[in-house]
């Protein structure tokens, strides 16, 4: 069993040293006693006696993990029917291994195997009868699309691999298993295209996964945090998605995907800033519409991070920048408010964050309350009470809506946090403060790297060819090359698909 494991988890570093290698006793009771002790007499440890080849035997399993149906169908039935012969020939399970090391048995049991022990034999049979309890494949709630595939990853690694393999039917798609979490033994799968992904990238990812050393890997967020180059930046550098089509598309661009058992999100790396603003929808709609929508999304990034700051700067420092009639209407609302614009903005932004968080936590039945409390009471009454001005409410509402446009939740949160320092700078230095703030953010984006890929590519460093699929989406037939940022092995991805066009012209 151990060598099977180590073959599977080829890069599993520093495996727990087995305390002692105890070989299987020839006495059945002694063996059983040992197993029971090792599992501390767990209540879900079950066994059933059988007889085969005229000797007494036991089937031991954990009823919580094993599929009872399978045990009955694949082990008990054949054994009862034949009554003598070779055990591994009689049992009809797919995966059956022999072992003579008793100390391995508890580990086999907790992985959902069942163990066959026989009186007088110093070998045990480990049969895989793990039960599979999974939910249905359904569309991810927070990454819905209008057109296109509506399936999503679930909490079962094998199903997720199936979804990806089904989309990329290519022997070059490599799957490598890892195990992280010393105590929880969480299974990870690393996926990449052998003929596309850069070998240096894979080596680096392999190294970083291998160096993860913690007791429990609960969420892919753990893995992401362990692997990011700049964990203290507010920009997410690893794309999390629950969509298999998005995952497959990134695989085909030469990126690397990490799937974890027990979680429906795939980690995609290395990615650039703009990957967070791409959605499969862009490619399903016509290219002009797709480009338009993507532009809207990027503009909404700027709106979400900049508009409150701009408002504060204009009202506090340079109201003369506004046209005259606008100044009067804005001023008349602001003059009633006792606070400076920055305080107004902070109050409203924090209220908004509180509402958002409450909206996530509240059960859907009371969800409507949030709408009423948030929308009516806060939106309308604060203005009536003279605490906040109307324009401020508009600005904050606009900010909130724009920040939720982003197809990735991580970047949308980052955007809103980004607004706060800009607001403070605007309150201190006006427009000049905002300019410096933006310069600072640009420098930061310029500095960030994700596994050797510049984060703000293809803008910094500038690459015109990759611009085709950055701010806008050019028609698919003009995207002849893969994006350069993950340094794929092959660049060409499209060849003259509309070749028939030229033929037409010569025809009469």
């Amino acid at each position: 069993m151990k060598d099977v494991l180590s073959k599977f988890f080829s890069n599993n570093r520093a495996e727990e040293k087995p305390q002692m290698k105890i070989s299987v006793y020839s006495s059945l009771d002694q063996n059983m006693e040992y197993i029971k002790n090792q599992l501390f007499h767990a209540s879900d440890l079950k066994w059933r006696s059988i007889s085969f080849n005229q000797s007494k035997g036991l089937i031991v399993f954990l009823e919580s993990l094993a599929d009872l149906q399978k045990i009955q169908q694949e082990i008990i039935k054949p054994l009862e029917g034949k009554s003598h012969g070779n055990v591994d020939k009689v049992v009809t399970s797919v995966d059956i291994t022999k072992s003579s090391v008793l100390s391995e048995v508890p580990y086999a049991l907790i992985q959902g195997n069942c163990v066959l022990l026989f009186e007088g034999s110093t070998e045990v049979f480990i049969v895989d009868v793990a039960a599979v309890n999974i939910r249905n494949i359904s569309e991810p709630v927070n990454e819905g699309v209008i057109r296109g595939a509506h399936d999503g990853f679930i909490e079962h690694l094998m199903t997720n691999l199936y979804l990806v393999r089904k989309r990329v039917e290519n022997p070059n798609l490599v799957v490598r298993y890892y195990q992280t979490g010393k105590e929880t033994k969480t299974k990870l799968a690393l996926l990449y295209m052998q003929d596309l992904a850069n070998p240096d990238l894979i080596k680096e990812v392999d190294q970083r996964i291998a160096s993860i050393s913690l007791d429990m890997t609960l969420a892919p967020g753990f893995i992401a945090e362990m692997m990011e180059d700049n964990p203290s930046s507010i920009f997410p550098q690893i794309l999390l998605t629950e969509r298999p089509d998005r995952t497959a598309a990134h695989l085909m661009e030469g990126r690397v995907v990490i799937l974890a058992d027990g979680d429906p999100s795939a980690l995609i790396l290395p990615v650039t800033f703009f990957a967070f603003y791409q959605s499969p929808d862009d490619y399903h709609s016509r290219w002009i519409a797709g480009s338009f929508v993507r532009l809207i999304r990027l503009v909404s990034f700027i709106i979400a991070s900049l508009i409150p700051a701009l408002y504060i700067a204009v009202i506090g420092f340079h109201p003369e920048i506004l046209p005259e009639n606008l100044i009067f209407s804005v001023k008349s609302s602001i003059d009633k408010v006792p606070f400076p614009p920055i305080v107004e903005a902070l109050i409203m932004q924090i209220t908004l964050e509180v509402l958002r968080e409450a909206g996530v936590r509240l059960p859907s039945r009371v969800g409507q309350t949030i709408g009423i409390v948030g929308g009516l009471v806060i939106g309308e009454s604060v203005v009536r009470a003279g605490l906040i001005s109307y324009p401020m409410v508009i600005v904050v509402a606009l900010t909130a809506i724009s920040s939720f446009v982003a197809p990735s939740n991580e970047i949308s949160t980052a955007t809103r946090i980004l607004g706060f320092p800009l607001m403070i700078l605007a309150a201190l230095f006006g427009l000049i403060g905002i300019t410096f703030g933006m310069l600072f953010i640009l420098i930061h984006l310029c500095k960030l790297e994700c596994l050797g890929t510049p984060y703000f590519a293809p803008v910094m460093p500038l690459r015109m060819k990759d611009m085709k699929d950055t701010f806008v989406r050019f028609p698919i037939w003009s995207l002849n090359q893969r994006p350069h940022d993950p340094h794929p092995q092959k660049y060409v991805q499209e060849r003259n698909s509309r070749g028939w066009e030229q033929d037409d012209s010569g025809k009469e």
């Binding site: 420092f317 003369e320 606008l326 230095f429 420098i443």
Partner: protein, 361 residues
């Protein structure tokens, strides 16, 4: 010798030169030129650009002899260790002083135009912290940002184009009103806003490719900036009548202040905000040049360790320069040192290196 992470491409060199050259001078240049060259101020800028081109060739010829050394590396090789190191420190001083001057002028303009009540030190700290954040990065990161910041120049040109609504081309005629002598003399004046091309002295070994390409990149950068300056000066000259000009110290800003779109009344504020980008980049460029030297002498080549105290020096330099008398002194000092360090010394060094047959490997 030069770490792989600091290598930049020739295109990046071009933008680096562009960003180093655009500085504070652009705002006041038309005013100064009009004083001496009248309507032909824009010709002076072109002449200055040509002069800069000649200097770039000299600097390039010098650098080419030592393809893997910065100026701090080859000075001791040409003149011997003691004199060379002394000269290196003078160059560091010159770069720092240039940065300080840019910073002081920047604070003056922003203090006068936008943030009237904000204390100077606060503004300086804001600018310096941002510059520090960039300057301590390796050259590649700096160059990446410079490339993208150059977009602001295009927007600045577009904004100035609005000015042509009330252009009056008769203002620049007769072109030779001031006489050719004055035009050439004021080219001298136009040379200083164009400084920054010295960056090639430090950057040369960091750039990939053959020496010819490097010269091309630097020249192209200089050409673009000369054209940009010429355009801005020309615009100012056709918009403000010769009678008004002496009263307007920053013609470009005044010009934009007069225009308004439907939703934005003060275009000059937008222009200034973009200009802040460009000026910060110019400062970073000077700081980088100085800290490379300091890093070489004091920190085993790690320039980023020199950045914090460099920032402090600049802060003090810019705080001193509040009185007009001090500012004038700064201007004079810059002019003298520019001719010494960027024109005179390299020429002497080049001859020296040529006759002594000194070459880097």
């Amino acid at each position: 010798m030069i770490p792989e992470k600091s290598k930049i491409t020739q295109g990046q060199l071009m933008f680096f030169i562009i960003q180093s050259q655009v500085g504070v001078g652009i705002l006041t240049l038309p005013h100064k030129l009009q004083e001496s060259a009248k309507g032909a101020g824009w010709i002076s800028v072109l002449i200055a650009g040509l002069a800069v081109q000649v200097i770039i060739v000299i600097l390039w010829a010098l650098c080419r002899r030592f393809p893997s050394d910065t100026i701090y590396g080859f000075l001791p090789k040409i003149t011997g260790k003691f004199l060379g190191n002394l000269l290196c420190f003078l160059y560091i001083g010159y770069f720092l002083f240039s940065a300080g001057t840019v910073l002081a002028k920047f604070a003056d303009v922003v203090g006068r135009w936008v943030l009237l009540a904000t204390p100077r030190w606060a503004l300086l700290i804001l600018a310096l912290l941002t510059c520090m954040y960039l300057a301590k990065e390796n050259l590649r990161v700096i160059a990446r940002l410079f490339v993208i910041s150059s977009l602001t120049i295009i927007v600045m040109v577009a904004l100035s184009l609005c000015g042509y609504v009330n252009a009056n081309f008769s203002y620049i005629f007769p072109i030779t009103e001031a006489g050719w002598g004055n035009i050439i003399k004021s080219a001298n004046e136009a040379l200083f806003p164009l400084v920054g091309y010295e960056a090639i002295l430090v950057l040369y070994p960091f750039v990939e490719g053959k020496s010819g390409g490097k010269l091309k990149a630097a020249s192209l950068g200089n050409m673009m900036i000369t054209l940009f300056y010429t355009f801005e000066v020309f615009t100012s000259l056709v918009i403000f009548s010769p009678a008004v000009m002496p009263a307007v110290s920053e013609p470009l800003l005044y010009m934009l202040k007069g225009f308004s779109f439907q939703i934005i009344q003060r275009i000059d504020l937008i222009f200034l905000s973009l200009w802040v980008f460009v000026v910060s980049n110019a400062m970073v460029s000077w700081i980088y040049m100085a800290t490379v030297g300091l890093g070489r002498f004091f920190h085993r080549g790690e320039h980023k360790k020199a950045v914090p105290y460099t920032i402090c020096i600049l802060f003090i330099l810019a705080m001193i320069a509040q009185e007009p008398s001090v500012t004038d002194f700064y201007d004079q000092a810059i002019k003298v040192s520019h001719y010494t360090f960027v024109v005179g010394l390299p020429l002497i060094l080049l001859c020296f290196a040529y006759f002594m047959r000194k070459r880097g490997t």
